[in-house]
């Protein structure tokens, strides 16, 4: 009897289409692109601010335009999805001892939401929105 194992090739570019889990993972990863783009836009804003009121006004007009608003809205949506999907897996990485057991996962996830809320509130207060 001879051995002749058969190797099944995995598609290198479309592997994530095989399974709903993989698609969900790719979605979580891809959303960071929008967060990166929004961070780049904010950096451009800082440069424009340093260049003077005229340049700043052009930047503000740009981000207030319908396409600028649409981009901000998309970035916000993706940032929320990204944050929520990561918050939901934090208990896997954080094993916090409590007595003879560990802090339950839902408590760790809730703590992240609370910190997120508090930090957002502080920023909104600092910016004078609230």
């Amino acid at each position: 009897m001879s051995r002749n194992p058969y190797v099944r090739e995995v598609p290198r570019t479309t592997w994530y289409m095989r399974n709903r889990r993989y698609i969900r993972y790719m979605l979580r990863e891809v959303t960071c692109v929008f967060i990166g783009l929004y961070a780049a836009s904010l950096t451009v804003g800082l440069v424009r601010l340093a260049q003077g009121p005229g340049e700043w006004a052009v930047y503000v007009n740009g981000i207030s335009s319908p396409s600028g608003l649409l981009f901000s809205l998309l970035a916000l949506g993706f940032a929320c999805y990204h944050s929520i999907s990561w918050f939901n897996v934090t208990p896997k990485a954080m094993r916090i001892p409590r007595g003879d057991d560990f802090v339950p996962g839902p408590a760790i996830i809730s703590a992240h939401y609370i910190i997120w809320g508090v930090v957002s509130l502080v920023f909104l207060l600092m910016m004078g929105v609230l």
Binding site: P5, R8, W15, N19, Y25, V89, A93
Partner: protein, 249 residues
């Protein structure tokens, strides 16, 4: 007891006569309480004695009967036929990401090598003699690693892990979960010996945290959690080593 006819589409491969696998359909009269493994045993005993597959305990303990069932890595002894849609056929394939030895039997060599590489056994600081007595452990110390000790080496997590498919050098979920199990054991002092494998690129850093390994694990071991915890521990090691070089032994 009700009985229903179910068609099983099974991936067959004969390395001596075939160049690639093919599906073969079998119609099996399944009892209500049957699992897929029962159907495979029925086929083997009554329809086609040439069908090859691994199994042993029939109770989700031995980890031998892992296979792809309708595209999902599952233990065939834990996959009840009544849980699959009525009227549809059930597709059974060997665990994906592994070479096929024959029919539903896969080549396990790569997994065995990786398992061996992480030294999955207690490495005590000082070996005790019989006169020294047993290694003692409190229930709290046991609880630290117990979940990770439930692994039955069924390799479902490797079949679920896309990273293992794309980067075959990846040590993989089960071997890393077992590494974590021994690192957390109060009787063990082998972490420095395992760290070379764990902290390497093919170790924990190859994991992109898809999390599929933990979702398919039949024993709720949570390899994804173990790997993320080891990433944190390795990062702490790196910072301590660079920020406090005097700590280095």
């Amino acid at each position: 007891m009700s009985q229903r006819q179910i068609t099983f589409e099974i991936l067959r491969y004969d390395p001596e006569t075939e160049s690639e696998p093919r599906f073969q359909a079998y119609c099996v009269p399944c009892e209500e309480e049957w699992v897929v493994l029962d159907a495979l045993n029925y086929i083997k005993d009554n329809l086609d004695g040439t069908l090859s597959y691994r199994w042993s305990c029939h109770m989700a303990v031995c980890g031998s009967c892992g296979m792809m069932i309708n595209g999902e890595p599952m233990l065939s002894c834990k996959a009840f036929v009544r849980d699959f849609p009525n009227g549809g056929s059930i597709r059974v394939e060997p665990l994906t990401h592994f070479p096929i030895e024959r029919d539903l039997v896969v080549v396990m060599d790569d997994f065995m090598d990786k398992l061996q590489a992480v030294k999955p056994y207690v490495i005590p600081k000082k070996k005790r003699t019989v006169e020294d007595g047993t290694y003692k452990q409190t229930p709290k110390q046991l609880h630290q690693y117990q979940q990770y000790s439930m692994c039955i080496n069924c390799m479902l997590c490797y079949a679920a892990c896309p990273q293992y498919a794309l980067a075959p050098d990846f040590i993989g979920p089960a071997a890393l979960a077992l590494t974590h199990r021994y690192n957390l054991d109060s009787r063990d002092h082998g972490r420095p010996q395992r760290q070379e494998v764990v902290a390497a690129h093919e170790g924990v850093w190859e994991c992109s945290f898809v999390g599929a390994c933990s979702e398919v694990c039949p024993k709720d071991v949570d390899p994804a959690g173990a790997i993320q915890q080891m990433k944190i521990a390795s990062t702490v090691d790196w910072y301590l080593e660079h920020l406090m070089p005097w700590r280095r032994k």
